[in-house]
């Protein structure tokens, strides 16, 4: 069913009885050409682009729980491409461009809203770093504007500009950044993939890989063995655990990242903001909830929940930036498990096992990467060669020295 204003009118006049489920619930077949492990944003996007861009429809997506039940349902929905390094810029800008046409492409309302993102700075060295990054972005064809204090004061009257310790001096603004509805992105891609013949199989956990002679020939699952010519693993957060089943060790640690949302409030924050002097970032959802978070808890975890000292640190950052947030009540707080890689950048690559492909190491930036991540992995699986936009995201880049370390923090995952 194609969605349109006419369809809404027709359904409204007939008691809304004609809406159909977004996708089928097929039984898994014995064998597929391609099996995608993981039904999160990257998994369903990969399946969608395999079908759409390469005409490969003998594809199954295997999901342990329900579609979008992992990090796709736990992130804070920010999209942006304000990166410094060439290995990242082309990729994230490609993703940004896909976001801009996503809803028309999918015929699905993903609530993409380009309300802008601002990284605040509070002193001269930070201003220099922001200007440098902005210039690097502009050179790569990405929009970047250095805002001064007065421009920010007009945009965000709620911030404490004269904080004694961390006065706001300005910010780097990417106007095309913004937010999108996290679940709707997964649902839109899933619907698009399903309509092109991809089997989306939920409640089907992969428990092993069928690897013989260095070639991956399929997967073992809780619903039986499924053969495949090619297997693509998109399970960021659990990459260590799943790729461990294939006997591979990765340059990744799993960490917990927490986020919070307040009760619904009137519009107060225009866009997404990162505080430059503490671990705090914030945006406001269309429902009015102030969505905010900060840094990792900092230790390996698969628990999908964190500890209170980190929440306290995040809230201190929030109070320093916008004291009014102290009057808002937090409705929910949660944690997600993220793949922290050794240089803070992701992987889209083949593996030493023939026919086994891997995407992961998305750190806390996997959501905005969903369109390009899916597109580039589909390209790699279909053609055997990396997509130019993701050519630097190799698994062996630590051995070769071609790391993509945005923060210059070295091989210490909890510092990225």
């Amino acid at each position: 069913m194609r969605y349109s204003a006419l369809q809404i009118l027709r359904q409204g006049l007939t008691g809304n009885r004609g809406w159909k489920p977004l996708w089928r619930e097929p039984q898994p077949k014995q064998r597929y050409d391609i099996v995608v492990v993981g039904g999160g944003g990257h998994g369903v996007a990969t399946a969608y682009y395999l079908a759409k861009a390469h005409g490969l429809t003998d594809v199954a997506v295997l999901e342990k729980g329900w579609l979008g039940s992992g990090n796709a349902g736990r992130n804070t929905t920010i999209i942006r491409s304000n990166y410094l390094l060439p290995g990242n810029q082309a990729f994230y800008e490609f993703s940004m461009k896909l976001w801009e046409g996503l809803e028309r492409e999918l015929n699905y309302n993903a609530m993409v809203s380009q309300r802008g993102i601002v990284n605040l700075f509070h002193n001269d060295p930070q201003r220099d770093a922001a200007a440098r990054r902005g210039n690097a972005m502009a050179l790569a064809g990405i929009d970047a504007v250095l805002l001064d204090r007065e421009a920010l004061q007009r945009k965000f009257p709620v911030f404490d500009f004269d904080n004694e310790r961390f006065p706001i001096k300005g910010g780097l603004w990417q106007k095309r950044g913004g937010t999108a509805r996290h679940d709707a992105v997964v649902w839109g891609y899933a619907r698009g993939a399903d309509r092109r013949g991809v089997d989306l199989i939920q409640n089907c956990e992969v428990t092993g890989f069928d690897i013989r002679g260095g070639v991956c020939r399929g997967v073992e699952t809780t619903r039986g063995a499924i053969g495949a010519n090619r297997v693509a693993v998109c399970v960021a957060g659990s990459s260590g655990r799943v790729m461990g089943l294939a006997g591979l060790r990765l340059p990744i640690e799993s960490h917990v990242l927490q986020a919070c949302v307040t009760e619904g409030l009137k519009p107060v924050i225009d866009g997404a903001i990162t505080f430059g002097a503490g671990h705090f970032y914030v945006c406001q959802s269309d429902k009015g909830g102030i969505v905010f978070g900060g840094d990792l808890d900092g230790y390996n975890s698969y628990a999908q929940r964190g500890n209170l000292p980190t929440v306290e640190d995040v809230c201190e950052g929030g109070m320093a930036l916008m004291p009014a947030i102290g009057r808002a009540r937090v409705l929910r707080m949660w944690g997600g498990v993220v793949d922290m890689s050794m240089d803070g950048s992701p992987f889209i690559d083949g593996t030493p096992v023939d026919g086994l492909y891997f995407t992961g190491g998305w750190c806390y930036g996997g959501f905005k990467a969903i369109p390009a991540g899916g597109y580039c992995l589909a390209h790699l699986v279909a053609t055997g060669a990396p997509h130019p936009a993701a050519a630097a995201m190799r698994l062996d880049r630590f051995a070769t020295g071609a790391v993509i370390d945005e923060n210059g923090a070295g091989a210490q995952p909890n510092l990225h």
Binding site: L250, S254, G298, Y299, Y302, A303, N307, F398
Partner: protein
């Protein structure tokens, strides 16, 4: 999380800084023929288990000792805490 320090007793985990897998104690031999490969392995590749994990914590806001904490990454339950020095000596290092 509460880390039961072998010398100081139970301390809040917020006093500590986390480094990572306790395998970092076993620094490779820099003179070995395949030292480059071994250091790549040592610096970058991790088991990253879901379950029991031995890891290094530094008591920065305390006595500045390094500890080897055995902790379940699924529940955050800490099952054992040792001085990293004792662990390193037991593995044959000289300090």
């Amino acid at each position: 999380m509460i880390i039961d320090h072998p010398l100081l007793g139970p301390r809040d985990a917020a006093e500590f800084v986390y480094l990572g897998d306790a395998g970092l104690i076993d620094r490779p031999d820099w003179q070995a023929g395949d030292a480059a490969r071994r250091f790549d392995d040592y610096l970058h590749l991790r088991d990253n288990p879901a379950g029991e994990h031995r890891e290094l914590w530094f008591h920065e806001q305390g006595d500045r000792s390094w500890l080897v904490v055995t902790r379940d990454t699924l529940t955050h339950e800490i099952v054992r805490v040792e001085l990293a020095r004792d662990v390193a000596l037991a593995r044959g290092r000289d300090r």
